[in-house]
């Protein structure tokens, strides 16, 4: 799906984002945007700052400089739950579920945003409360089914095998009704068949019209699901284009392979890129 022809609204706009930790500059200057409805892949060598960028966008870290806005509203300075209320939901790089609760309850917790009952209504057990509970429970089953975990609804989050825990994470994030979903290495640690099923789920997510910003190391997966890919290295974006463009981009290749590529090239061709 080419992004050139149709009118593309920018959903997420990140401008000159910089992140400093004490003396360490984790992100130098990041400028990019995500269009409505697209799947944007964010790749880059380890330590390039991808998760830091996620943390900044979703309110877990405060940007040192720069602006971040979603559908026109600034996200800087907002708390993570406020950002979630705007429809921006993320997953975490290290497996993050509610370990002590069942998979079903995990998704129920994710549905928090969709419910409106307040404390007084709950305490007085107004009929609207019970009705909403039933709707939510049905929805939770739906979502578990969507990621293929409906058979595991009763299992404790911490008892699920690794691949299923990662699926549960996505289910919980989907439950929060995101319009922009930030996935932090969703298939890391998954075996090839799990990764393939996940790619199918990604297709379904995209059909729902959810915009996705995806960080991943698994190249086959990223190139397979993304409309567009941006590459982060040493704190700045060094490339932005379609998956095939990125795969051929020399800057990107150098970023991943480093000096060895240059030395190999200069060995056979001499001159220019000796210093990289």
């Amino acid at each position: 799906m080419s992004s050139k022809t149709a009118k593309q609204d920018k959903a997420l706009v990140v401008d000159s984002l910089a992140m400093r930790f004490g003396g360490l500059l984790a992100i130098k200057s990041m400028t990019f945007h995500v269009n409505e409805g697209e799947v944007l892949g964010l790749i880059g060598p380890n330590g390039a700052g991808k998760t830091t960028a996620f943390n900044a966008i979703t309110g877990y870290l405060r940007p040192s400089e720069g602006s971040i806005s979603y559908r026109g509203s600034s996200l800087v300075g907002l708390k993570p739950n406020e950002i979630a209320d705007l429809g921006v939901v993320r997953t975490f790089q290290k497996t993050s579920v509610f370990g002590g609760q069942s998979a079903f309850d995990n998704v129920l917790m994710g549905l928090h945003r969709r419910q409106k009952q307040n404390a007084l209504e709950i305490i007085f057990a107004l009929p609207s409360v019970a009705a909403e509970e039933r709707r939510m429970r049905d929805k939770a089953h739906e979502i578990l089914d969507f990621v293929g975990l409906d058979g595991r609804a009763g299992e404790l989050g911490s008892a699920l095998p690794y691949g299923e825990q990662r699926l549960l994470e996505v289910a919980v994030a989907l439950a929060a009704q995101p319009s922009l979903l930030l996935l932090d290495e969703p298939v890391s640690g998954m075996n090839p068949s799990e990764t393939s099923s996940f790619m199918n789920i990604m297709g379904e997510i995209r059909k729902l019209g959810i915009t996705v910003l995806l960080v991943e190391h698994d190249m086959r997966m990223v190139m397979g699901v993304s409309d567009r890919v941006i590459v982060l290295n040493h704190g700045s974006i060094i490339a932005d284009g379609s998956p095939s463009q990125i795969q051929k981009n020399p800057e990107v290749i150098r970023a991943y392979l480093g000096d060895r590529y240059d030395k190999a090239k200069s060995g056979s061709k001499g001159k220019k890129r000796a210093q990289g």
Binding site: T91, D105, H112, M136, A175
Partner: protein, 340 residues
């Protein structure tokens, strides 16, 4: 099926005064019931929301003192010329005042807990309770300090002009406490099984994940502390109009400890935990009192606590339900085996 069991259980409890015979035992049940309400309130904060609040007795005591003072009436010289005078108010009104003031203090603590986490929060809550105790001890003008507030009126229910019932005897107090136990239990159960309760549990289990799906940390911490504190204040109000004397000892740290013991040994984060813990540690002292000096009693508690924590770390209720699950699973296996 479960609902019927519960109702039957409550009816059974309500029948106790008719056949127990011994007024002293009834008295123990009343005080135990009051403690159970306090323990349930602490469980909401400590068990479900995961907040290490060790100043809970402050809410209990604030509820007790406020209810006592409002029902007795008091005068307070604010400046040389002006004295604030409050006429004695009906007991039910004083009782509500106690709940409200305790809830307001809960709100304050809830707001603070958001800024101050973990072990520091423990210390803040302990300090808060100590400050309140010292104020109660030293502000003699208002609280009579160690001389205690006495002759506190008991609960009274009346239809003006027609009928009035004053709870001088133990039985009506028992039923009142039982009724409030049931009400408290229902409130907590409804909260816990709802969106609000799930938010609190989510905060306890995995706060970053909870916020990522839109759970507002401050809002639910504050909600938990307000409900928890108000309920403890209600327990305090019940205490004050039953025992009819209140002194600063009601704020002693040892009572917070007792509540914590009840919650954790019973099973924190479970609905029945505080009830079981409350029954054990409410009744045990009285049983031991017969044949052991107070110090020995407390030593037995200390040791008992350590043992329960070692062998049943999640508490009694979770251990029981695990045992029950394993029994029914092996039963299934046996019947399946037999069928094949």
């Amino acid at each position: 099926m479960n609902r019927a069991l519960e109702i039957a259980f409550v009816v059974f409890l309500a029948s106790v005064p008719f056949w127990l015979g011994n007024l002293y035992y009834l008295h123990i049940l009343v005080t135990t019931g009051i403690f159970i309400i306090a323990a349930m309130s602490l469980n909401l904060l400590l068990g479900y929301t995961g907040q290490l609040s060790l100043g809970h007795v402050a809410f209990f005591g604030i509820g007790a003192y406020t209810s006592a003072l409002v029902s007795l009436g008091f005068d307070l010289s604010i400046t040389e010329n002006y004295t604030f005078v409050l006429e004695p108010k009906p007991v039910w009104f004083a009782f509500l005042c106690g709940i409200v003031l305790a809830a307001i203090c809960g709100w304050l603590i809830g707001r603070i807990s958001f800024k101050v986490r973990g072990a520091y929060f423990v210390i803040v809550t302990i300090s808060f309770a100590e400050v309140v105790r010292l104020v109660a001890l030293n502000w003699i003008d208002l609280t009579e300090g160690p001389m205690a507030l006495n002759n506190i009126p008991p609960f009274t229910f009346s239809i003006p002009g027609l009928w009035e019932l004053t709870f001088y005897k133990k039985e009506p107090n028992y039923w009142l406490v039982l009724a409030l136990c049931v009400v408290s239990f229902v409130i907590i159960r409804r909260l816990v099984n709802s969106r609000a309760g799930r938010a609190m549990i989510a905060l306890r289990e995995n706060e970053p994940l909870a916020t990522s799906v839109g759970v507002d940390v401050t809002k639910y911490l504050v909600l938990a502390t307000i409900v928890s504190a108000g309920m403890a204040g209600a327990a305090g109000g019940l205490y004050t109009h039953y025992v009819r004397i209140v002194d600063p000892d009601v704020f002693l740290f040892i009572y917070t400890v007792t509540m914590v013991i009840m919650v954790i040994t019973g099973g924190k984060g479970t609905l029945a935990g505080p009830i079981v813990g409350g029954l054990i540690f409410g009744i045990l002292p009285e049983v031991l009192r017969e044949f052991a000096a107070p110090e020995v009693q407390w030593m037995i508690y200390g040791v008992l606590m350590i043992l329960i924590v070692y062998f049943l770390p999640a508490g009694i209720i979770p251990a029981l339900s695990q045992w029950w699950q394993r029994r029914s699973q092996s039963h299934e296996q046996v019947t399946q085996g037999a069928a094949e």
